[in-house]
């Protein structure tokens, strides 16, 4: 390798070019805009080609649709404007900027777009269509015209064609919805990513760069000729369709650039346009000849992949390896380091040109997330040589430098380090980058990760070629489809089922959740030993593994039936040989991923039960249950005892025993299952923002954590429970890698220091020590990631956002896996970051501080507008009837309101738990009728405790909706989409009445 040792690893003399500064400013100024281009095109195509109502959609049919989208989507060379915020709750304002990015095309038609997938979770924003631009947290710009289009021309078609409904209607039995889906709707047990996407993998870009798509097309045509198998023939035809579509999109971009060049007077800009045109005529159809063409090929294919599935954790892999040959060919000859750096900065901005669609209620769980697109740098060569070979190259450092200069949320940079093969100076450079950026890159330990991957049967070459997916999940790049985020399990719910013998506090203690343990023999109050308690826990865990994996299978099969993935399959090792879609098991390596939320809290709870109830017998099991049920009110002494019980992260034997048992149990339970693609389930520990979201939904726990407080993040010990840094690092470093096969996020917060040179040395030593395997006595930590900001900075930013706009604009933080902007996080998640254990590297001791108090949240529910409905004086206590009457009247009097339900056929049943109130609403032929009895054949049935709770659910924003579901006040059976639509109708009515009454 042409690697020069005198290369300046720090590239201190390089900065951002004017072009990049301008773009970056616009990027930070711009709010996300919902783009309806894709949903509009696929709806139109599906209608015209009768895709709706089919039993399944084949890969070829899907491919033709995507080709149509690729050929017809607008080829945007430069963006000209974005939308900026004018403050919370206010309409956004348009602003102009000069775009001269070196890369054309974009993920959506917008500068910073929100892609919308009506076939997945897109319809969840239906109730918000009129308010999403002005909502308090993370609003998206959406024009009135586009909102109308979604409401009338797009969403109605997908009410039965979206994944949740297709899975529910396909997999239910005896008129009941599948138990997995019912539990999913209860929010507190788990989440399943396949309701939203498959994503979460790393495609292979080596071929498109080296050979061009033309070569893959030729191969597909050859293979089609040489097979008699119908489904294989169809697969290869699908590959040809989508790849031709991608080339067509690139050609459209070239054409558009040429057109713009004709009109352009500025000679520099004219030439830039002609350069873009030339590049797009070459790639991705033909092999990339230059570094820039290589980057462009990756970029164009990247945008195409996003047409298939929402981008959640879809990751780019080892770009410093894939692009190195082109870089080396050109550097210091046809391009300078400055040129290369500028290209990478432009690409980084392009990669971050979209954010995921999150409904208001979802902000609690996912607020502030980007698309979590990981890029991996460094590590070793993907070969089987006896001694691994260093893969760190100049491009590794250039990419690192670009990341430092840009300080962006996306892409999420991950750096690999192989002790003894990579230079120690490289590790030091990575640590230095963390001090500069305060949050990135995440560091991965090759020795431990490669060991974990080989334990899953991967060869040494495959394992050495790993890269990170999404947050931190390692996969063999471009050949392992591990759907690493398939199941997000709230482990504390398993603990609750154990403590309450199969029941769950928040979803009704009258209801047995875990079906197989209702017997008094499983009542923990009767257990005599901790071993019995742990066995009961294992039983509940195993049951949860059954439920979640079968839900994942159900969803996976729905994907296979309706949402094939020809585009992603074209960029993967395996599908082309097998003639099989990636989601049907086409990849060379198949697996599905589980990630666990609440690990440390559950481990510490087990230790507390072991120590206080069974070993020291300082409290009975019943006292413990009473204490947690009362959130430790009047249990001050017991609370202290529980807090003082052994905690994971201090190398305590009891605590270490429980964490390792827990991790092994999770591994065993899930590895025993086989996925619908004939792979294994891999378990990992990274929590994004879910440890705050799930924490908010969960009551007090035996480790002393109070109700609604945050859980610990990722694999990190509980905040404030681990006073000594090295003990914490050792605790994580001694977890066996082979039990953590889906990655871990280990969060550490350091106090910034003035003397950076000394801090870098200590920082580097602590990472190296954490990675160290102690000559084989342990595996060493797999991953570690940092926040380098002190408590006070975060507190200041959270308390007074208006006074700290400058600080907040770019304040980047590591959440648990990915990076995010602090300002975008919901208050609960901000609190979690603030309260994370902070160590002073000078003495390795935890800094202590007071718990951060969240400001009280205001309820946004105001029902006074209902009084304006005629007849309200007679119906004051019958809110539901009043609402339906209001709707009914509006349909009569308002043509605009009536248009909302044109061609809509829907049967709603609303009833109270006891059945004393039952109201039905029927929509048909543009009319609505209300009946005071129970109708059969409803599309959706809503059961509620009281009417206030129901209206709370329909009208109030964010957390109240969660609360309604959580406190078991509202329960929904049937097709959820009907509720989204009803939510829109109800809110539209509210807007109309409030609009009129305020005039």
């Amino acid at each position: 390798m042409p690697w020069k040792n005198d290369f300046d690893k720090y590239l201190d003399n390089y900065g951002l070019t004017e072009r990049v500064v301008r773009l970056r400013d616009a990027y930070f100024q711009a709010m996300p805009e919902i783009c309806i281009e894709r949903p509009y095109l696929i709806t139109k195509y599906s209608v015209n080609n009768n895709y709706f109502g089919k039993e399944s959609v084949s890969i070829l049919e899907k491919a033709k649709m995507y080709r149509y989208v690729l050929e017809n989507r607008s080829p945007v060379i430069y963006h000209s404007h974005g939308f900026e915020s004018r403050g919370p709750g206010k309409e956004m304002r348009k602003f102009a900027f000069i775009d001269s990015s070196l890369f054309a095309g974009s993920t959506t038609s917008k500068f910073k777009g929100v892609p919308l997938f009506p076939e997945f979770l897109g319809l969840t924003i239906w109730p918000e269509l009129r308010t999403i631009s002005t909502r308090q947290k993370n609003p998206y710009q959406l024009s009135k015209a586009d909102a109308e289009k979604l409401n009338k021309e797009i969403f109605p078609f997908w009410m039965k064609e979206n994944i949740m409904e297709r899975t529910r209607s396909r997999c239910g039995s005896n008129g009941n919805d599948p138990v997995g889906i019912r539990m999913l709707q209860r929010l507190v047990f788990f989440m399943a990513s396949k309701t939203n996407c498959i994503s979460h993998t790393v495609p292979d870009f080596k071929r498109v760069i080296g050979e061009g798509l033309g070569s893959i097309i030729r191969e597909a045509m050859d293979k089609r000729k040489n097979t008699e198998d119908f489904s294989r023939k169809e697969f290869y035809s699908a590959i040809v369709e989508v790849l031709k579509g991608i080339i067509a999109y690139s050609n459209n971009l070239a054409l558009e650039a040429e057109k713009l060049a004709l009109k352009e007077n500025n000679p520099i800009r004219k030439q830039e346009l002609l350069d873009i045109a030339e590049i797009h005529r070459q790639v991705p159809g033909y092999p990339a000849r230059t570094f820039r063409e290589g980057l462009t090929a990756v970029w164009i294919c990247w945008t195409a992949i996003h047409l298939e599935n929402p981008n959640v954790g879809l990751s780019l892999g080892r770009l410093d390896q894939v692009l190195y040959d082109l870089y080396a060919k050109e550097i210091n000859k046809t391009i300078s380091i400055n040129d290369a750096l500028e290209m990478i900065c432009c690409l980084w901005l392009k990669i971050g040109d979209h954010v995921p669609l999150i409904p208001d209620a979802g902000e609690q769980l996912f607020g502030g997330t980007g698309s979590n697109q990981a890029i991996t740098i460094g590590g070793v060569m993907p070969n089987s040589s006896e001694i691994a070979e260093d893969a760190v190259n100049e491009l590794t450092y250039v990419m690192l430098k670009a990341t430092e200069l840009m300080m962006l949320r996306d892409p999420n940079l991950n750096a690999r380090y192989y002790e003894g093969v990579n230079e120690p100076a490289y590790l030091k450079r990575l640590c230095d980058a963390n001090l500069k950026t305060k949050a990135t890159p995440a560091l991965h330990n090759d020795n431990a990760v490669i060991k974990a991957m080989m334990s899953q049967g991967e060869t040494i070459e495959q394992a050495r070629d790993y890269s990170s997916v999404g947050c931190v999940e390692p996969v063999s790049s471009g050949r392992a489809y591990t759907a690493s985020s398939s199941i997000l399990l709230n482990l504390t719910s398993v603990l609750e089922l154990t403590l309450f013998n199969g029941r769950h506090r928040h979803t009704g203690m009258d209801q047995l959740i875990s079906m197989d343990t209702g017997s008094p023999a499983d009542d923990p109050a009767r257990f005599e030993t901790f071993e019995q308690f742990r066995k009961a826990f294992y039983k509940q865990l195993n049951w949860m593994a059954d439920i979640t994996t079968s839900l994942n299978d159900d969803l996976g099969r729905t994907h296979q039936l309706f949402y094939p993935t020809p585009i992603l399959s074209a960029f993967f090792e395996g599908p082309m040989d097998k003639g099989k879609d990636l989601i049907k098991g086409g990849a060379l390596i198949n697996a599905s991923g589980v990630t666990v939320i609440g690990l440390a809290d559950v481990a510490d709870s087990l230790s507390a039960v072991e120590q206080i109830v069974y070993r020291e017998k300082k409290a009975t099991f019943k006292e413990l249950i009473n204490a947690v049920n009362n959130n430790f009110e009047n249990y001050k002494v017991l609370h202290k005892l529980l807090e003082g019980a052994p905690k994971y992260g201090n190398e305590d034997l009891i605590a270490q025993g429980n964490i390792q048992w827990l991790i092994k149990s999770l591994h065993d339970c899930f590895q025993a299952k086989t996925t619908y693609r004939n792979g294994k389930y891999r378990v990992g520990y990274w929590t994004m923002t879910n440890h705050a979201g799930f924490g908010r939904l969960t009551g007090a726990l035996p480790n002393g954590r109070k109700a609604h407080e945050n859980f610990a993040s990722g694999i990190t010990p509980v905040s404030g429970a681990t006073p000594v840094l090295t003990a914490t690092l050792n605790s994580v470093a001694s977890i066996p890698a082979e039990h953590v096969t889906n990655g871990m996020a280990f969060n550490i917060k350091y106090t910034p220091e003035h003397d950076r040179a000394t801090m870098v040395d200590n920082f580097t030593a602590s990472v190296a020590g954490y990675f160290d395997d102690l000559d084989g006595q342990r595996d060493g930590g797999m991953e570690i990631q940092f926040n380098i900001n002190d408590h006070e900075t975060f507190v200041k930013a959270a308390r007074h956002p208006e006074k700290n706009r400058e600080l907040l604009r770019e304040l980047l933080v590591r959440v648990s896996g990915y990076t995010a902007y602090f300002k975008d996080l919901n208050p609960q998640m901000q609190k979690e970051i603030i309260e994370r254990t902070e160590y002073n590297l000078k003495n390795g001791q935890m800094k202590s501080f007071q718990p951060f108090q969240l400001p009280p949240s205001e309820s946004s529910l105001d029902l006074s507008w209902l009084e304006h409905i005629p007849g309200s004086d007679r119906l004051t206590d019958k809110l539901l009837e009043l609402l339906l009457r209001g709707m009914d009247l509006s349909f009569w009097f308002s043509r605009g309101y009536r248009r909302n339900i044109k061609n809509f056929k829907g049967r709603y049943l609303f009833m109270t738990k006891g059945g004393d109130v039952a109201v039905s609403a029927l929509f048909e032929n543009g009319n609505m009728s209300v009946r005071g009895d129970i109708i059969p054949d409803w599309d959706v049935k809503v059961t509620f405790t009281d009417e206030a709770a129901l209206l709370d659910f329909l009208f109030s924003r964010d957390q109240d909706i969660l609360n309604s579901l959580l406190e078991n006040k509202v329960e929904i059976e049937g097709n959820l989409t009907y509720i989204y639509r009803f939510g829109f109708l109800a809110r539209d009515l509210q807007n109309r009445i409030m609009g009129r009454s305020s005039q």
Partner: protein
């Protein structure tokens, strides 16, 4: 080995007690009793009960169990030390961290294992283990066994001492395993030394002198700055004279830290007659300037 020495604390990830990342062992028991001691709980060799008022939730479990009736929730100190015999029953029932026992015994292998836990961090920072106190040289047999346990793992060892030890035993049992010695020199005048520390400095200076001449181990003298006790012009001049005579050129002045004062209270002892505030930056600088002027060949 007869009785195990008590250990007050093993402080991990320390960067202040020798090169790199280190674990520091604080032995209990000291032949000196400096009024300005930073760790008064390390002075007496026997166990002591430490009470921390901030952690107390007033549950009363300690008062109920105390066989000597030495505990009262009404008193701010809780423990009547004249009655307390340090039996430790109260510590066992305390649900939180209000009551702790200062002084735990470890078998050599136990302590060795604890110290080796951080060897990965020692390795990557050129750090190691520091033996401190109290006065760790009070336990030569134990130290010898511990050092024999650690050395095969290549652990770098620093010893911190007041210098008040029997040289022959030290030389025979401890010295062969040391990589570096931090040697405290507090007060130059023997009388003042006796007054503030309880012992004359004669032996301390002799031992230092022998170490320099005979041992070949790197010795770093350290002078704690205590306002109006050690941090005076006369004293610093005196110390400089002693060091120069021995040809030592690398002494370190330790900044004043009043954090020990609260610890006196926690073990039921009266607060010492030393200032409760840190030395100002200016004062500290001035003393350093003064001192290093007198030690021109210093590498500071």
């Amino acid at each position: 080995m007869s009785e195990l020495p008590l250990i007050v604390d093993v402080k991990r990830h320390s960067l202040e007690d020798g090169p790199g990342i280190r674990s520091v062992v604080f032995f209990k028991g000291c032949p000196l009793c400096c009024v300005f001691c930073q760790n008064p709980e390390t002075q007496a060799p026997g166990p002591e009960i430490v009470f921390c008022v901030e952690e107390c939730i007033l549950c009363g479990a300690c008062a109920r169990i105390c066989p000597s009736n030495a505990i009262s929730l009404k008193s701010e100190e809780r423990i009547d030390r004249t009655r307390c015999d340090n039996c430790g029953k109260c510590v066992q029932v305390c649900p939180g961290k209000g009551l702790r026992r200062a002084g735990a015994s470890y078998r050599v292998e136990e302590l060795g294992e604890l110290l080796l836990r951080d060897r990965a961090f020692y390795r990557h920072s050129q750090g190691g283990v520091t033996l401190s106190g109290g006065e760790c040289t009070l336990y030569p047999d134990y130290l010898e066994a511990l050092l024999k346990y650690l050395k095969p793992f290549g652990v770098h060892v620093v010893l911190e001492t007041s210098g008040f030890f029997s040289y022959e035993i030290f030389k025979q049992k401890i010295l062969p395993y040391l990589d570096m010695i931090y040697y405290d020199l507090k007060i130059a005048d023997p009388k003042a030394h006796k007054h503030f520390t309880g012992q004359s400095n004669k032996r301390i200076i002799e031992n230092l002198s022998r170490l320099i001449r005979e041992s070949g181990v790197q010795v770093i003298p350290r002078i704690p700055l205590i306002p109006s006790i050690t941090a005076t012009r006369e004293n610093l001049e005196g110390i400089a004279r002693i060091l120069k005579k021995m040809g030592l050129s690398n002494p370190v002045l330790l900044p004043y830290n009043p954090m020990g004062i609260s610890k006196f209270k926690m073990i039921g002892r009266p607060a010492p007659p030393i200032p409760e505030r840190f030395m100002s930056c200016g004062e500290e600088k001035e003393f350093k300037r003064l001192f290093y002027q007198m030690m021109p060949q210093t590498n500071q």
